[in-house]
Symmetry: C2
Subunit: 423 residues, 2 copies
C-alpha cells in the first residue's frame, strides 16, 4: 500500500470506530431526540438550498464534460422543486412511528420466565450508492429513525451534491445534540474506500446496503465481508390468467409496464394463459401498443398479435424502457415455472377472477411481493405504508420487499426472571 | 481439478439441483404431510436402532484409534438411551405448530390493497456440523417442519453414524410420499465437498448454517458465497449488581456457570458491582468455589477472595470448563462496557432488585438474550418454548438467539387487489 493508500486506510478505519460511537449515542437517544434530528435535517436542506444547488451544478458540469446524457444525467440533477421533495421525504420519515423498543412478542414458557422480543437497532450500516443525491438524505433519515449509525458512500459523479446534503444532515444532528459520528459521509471519490467498507472497517460495520446498478450490487455481494441487504434487479411479471377480467387485465398491464418504465417494480414480461390467449392476448397487447410500448413475443404470441420475435435474452432483460416481452404459458403452473426460471424474486402479479387460481399462484411463486389483480408498480415502501424505503430487498433473509425504518432494525430477547435457575 | 475432484463437483452440483426440487416439493406439501414425515423419521430411528448403533461403534473405534478421548469422544458416542432421546427430540418437532402460511401482519394502506405478510420457507439450507450425530436428526426434522430442503454435511469422524441416521430420515420422507431430495446427506468425508457447499452449489443454496467449533464457524463465515446464519461462541456474563439479592446472586451464578459447563449459555465471566463487591463478591465466589469452580480474578477481586490472577486472555476465553473469570466493575455502565468489549453478543444477565438498574442494563447490553435475575443457562430453544433449535444465532440479521423452525422461515407479501393501478 502506498502512502495515500495507508492514509486512506487510517481515515476509513477511524470512520468505522467513530460510527461505533455514533451507534451507541443513537441507541441511547430517545425517540423524541431522533425525531428532532430528522426534522432539523429537513429544515437545513431547505435553508441550505442555494449551497446544495450550487454543488449540484458542479457535479452536472463535470458529468456533461464527461459526456453523460439522458436518464443518467437526469437522475443526477437537482432543482428547487426536486430539493423540496427531498426535504419533504425527510420530514415524512420524522413522522413514521418509532420502531425502537417495540415489543413484537411476549410470552411466558413453563419455566416462568417473562420473555419479550424487543426491536433494537442493527448498529452501523454502510450504504453504497450511485447517482441520485436524494439517497444521501433518505438514508441518513431512515438510519437515524431506526437508531443506526450510517456511513454513506455515494457515487463520485455526485460527490459535491452528496457532501452538501450531508452538511445539512450534520446540522440536523447537531440541533438535536447528537454527535456527527451518527451519519458520516466518505469525502473522497477514491474507489479504494469502497473496498475498505466492503472489508468491514475492522468489523465496525453490521450491514452493507448497495443501492445502484447490477454491477455495483454484484460487486458488493461478491466482495463484502459483512452481511449485505441486496437489491438485485426487478424482473417483474404480470400473468393474465384465462379467467382474468379483460378490462382489469388491460388496465393493470399498461400501468404495470408504462406508468414509469425506469422503476424496479415495472413489469418486464407479460405472461398469458394459453386457455384464454386467443381473446386476451390481442386485447392486452393492443392496449400496450397504443400506450407506446414495443412488444417482443414468443412464437405463439406472434400468431395472435403482430410483434417482434423475442430472443432468449428477452426473458431475463430488465428493460427499464417501454419494451415488454410476451410469452404464452400453460395455466398458473406454467406461469410459476417461467417466473421461477427467469424472475428475480422481486414482484409478480396474477390477473384473474378465479380465487383458486389466485391462491395457487400465491403459493407457487416465491417472490418478495406476490400480487393479485393489482399493478406491479405498487412495489414501493410508500405504497406499503412504510413511509420511505432504502430499496426493495430481493434476498430472502432478514428483510424482504420494501426496506423502511422497521426493516433496518433487529431485536433482542429481554428475559425477566425472579431468581430462576435451570434444573 | 483431478478426476476425483471433477467427479465430486458433478455429484455436489447434482445434489444442489436435486435440493431445489426437494424444496419445491416441501413448499407444496401441506402441514399434515410434513408432520407425518417427521413422525415416521422418529419411528425409523427407533426401529433402525441396532444399525445406527453398529455404525456408531465403527466411528467410535476409528476415533479411539486416532487417539480421540474425553469430551470429544463422548460427544460422538451413541447408546440406546441417547438414541431414544434423539428419536424423542424428532417426535417433539412433529408437534411444533407449523410455521408455514402464518400471517404475521395484515393491513390495508390508503391505496385499498389488502397486504398480508405470510411465512414461507427459505428454500435450500446447508448445515455443516461436527461431532454430535443427533444434529443429523434435529436438522432434518427442523428443515422439514419449516419446509426447507436440507443438505447435511457432518464431520468425517461421525460419518457412519450420520449416514445411518440419514437412512432413517429418508425412510420417514418416503413414508409421507416426499422425495429423498428433501433431505440429502453428503456421503464422502472429502473436505473439498465443504468448499463446494460454501461456494453455493451453483446458487442452489439459500442459507448455510455452521454448527461446531470456532474454527469451523470462522471458515464458513470467511469463505461462504451464500448467506450464513452464524453461531459464534457464547462468551456469557453474569453481573451481580450492588442491589442484588445475595441468595439469588449465589444461586444464579452457580447455576449459570456450573449446571453444565460445556453449553454455549454457560457463564464465563462474573462481573461484580464495585458498590456491593465487599459483601457480594466473597459470598458468590465462595459458592462457586464450593461447587468446584476455579476462579481467576482481576486485582480488586483478589483482594476480596483468594483466587488466581486473571490474564487478559481470560476475559475472552470460552472456557467450557469449571473455570470462571471475575472482574469488579463500576455499576451497570461499567458492566455494559466490559460486555461490549469482550462479549460475543450471545447471552448476558444482571442480578438486581433495582428495577431501574435492570432496565438500564437491558437498554445498554446489545446481546441476543439479555436476562434479569435468571441463569444464563436458560439460553436454549427448548426453554424459550421453540421446541428444538439448530443453534443460537449471534449475528444480528434475520434470526437472533435460539434458531427453531420458525426462525428457519422467511416471508412474502401477498397483496390482493381488485384491479388497482398506481396513479
Amino acid at each position: 500500500m502506498d502512502d495515500a493508500g495507508a492514509s486512506l486506510a487510517t481515515t476509513m478505519s477511524a470512520m468505522g470506530a467513530q460510527a461505533r460511537e455514533g451507534a451507541m449515542a443513537l441507541r441511547l437517544a430517545d425517540a423524541a431526540t431522533r425525531t428532532k434530528a430528522i426534522r432539523a435535517m429537513a429544515e437545513a436542506i431547505g435553508s441550505d438550498a442555494a449551497v446544495i444547488l450550487a454543488a449540484n451544478a458542479r457535479d452536472m458540469d463535470a458529468a456533461k464534460a464527461n459526456g453523460v446524457t439522458g436518464p443518467i444525467l437526469d437522475r443526477l440533477m437537482l432543482d428547487e422543486a426536486r430539493l423540496r421533495s427531498v426535504a419533504e421525504a425527510v420530514a415524512a420519515i420524522a413522522d413514521i412511528p418509532d420502531p425502537l423498543g417495540q415489543e413484537t412478542a411476549r410470552w411466558t414458557p413453563p419455566n416462568g420466565l417473562d420473555i419479550a422480543r424487543v426491536r433494537t437497532p442493527i448498529g452501523v450500516i454502510a450504504i453504497i450508492y450511485e447517482s441520485r443525491p436524494n439517497v444521501t438524505a433518505d438514508a441518513a433519515a431512515l438510519c437515524v429513525r431506526s437508531g443506526n449509525a450510517a456511513i454513506l458512500r455515494g457515487g463520485s459523479e455526485c460527490i459535491h451534491s452528496n457532501l452538501a446534503i450531508h452538511a445539512a444532515v450534520a446540522k440536523g444532528l447537531e440541533a438535536a445534540g447528537l454527535p456527527a459520528s451518527c451519519v458520516q459521509a466518505v469525502r473522497t471519490p477514491d474507489r479504494a474506500a469502497v473496498g475498505m467498507i466492503l472489508a468491514g472497517l475492522d468489523q465496525a460495520i453490521d450491514l452493507i446496503i448497495p443501492r445502484g446498478g447490477k454491477s455495483l450490487v454484484a460487486r458488493v455481494q461478491a466482495e463484502a465481508r459483512a452481511p449485505v441487504l441486496g437489491h438485485l434487479e426487478g424482473l417483474c411479471h404480470t400473468f393474465i390468467h384465462a379467467a382474468a377480467d379483460p378490462v382489469k387485465a388491460q388496465a393493470i398491464a399498461v400501468n404495470a409496464k408504462m406508468r414509469r418504465v425506469s422503476v424496479c417494480g415495472a413489469t418486464e414480461t407479460l405472461l398469458v394463459d394459453r386457455a384464454g390467449a386467443k381473446e386476451l392476448l390481442p386485447l392486452v397487447a393492443q392496449a400496450l401498443s397504443a400506450a407506446g410500448c414495443e412488444l417482443r413475443g414468443d412464437e405463439e404470441a406472434r400468431t395472435l398479435f403482430p410483434m417482434q420475435a423475442a430472443s432468449d435474452d428477452d426473458w431475463t432483460c430488465e428493460y427499464l424502457a417501454p419494451v415488454i416481452a410476451v410469452a404464452v404459458v400453460d395455466d398458473v403452473e406454467g406461469a410459476a415455472a417461467h417466473i421461477a426460471r427467469y424472475g428475480s424474486g422481486h414482484t409478480d402479479c396474477i390477473v384473474t377472477e378465479d380465487a383458486g387460481a389466485a391462491e395457487r399462484f400465491v403459493a407457487l411463486v416465491d417472490s418478495a411481493i406476490v400480487l393479485v389483480n393489482a399493478s406491479t408498480q405498487f412495489a414501493d415502501g410508500g405504497e406499503f405504508g412504510f413511509g420511505a424505503e432504502i430499496g426493495i430487498a430481493t434476498d430472502k433473509l432478514h428483510a424482504r420487499g420494501p426496506v423502511g425504518a422497521e426493516q433496518l432494525t433487529t431485536f433482542k430477547y429481554v428475559v425477566r426472571g425472579t431468581g430462576q435457575t435451570r434444573p
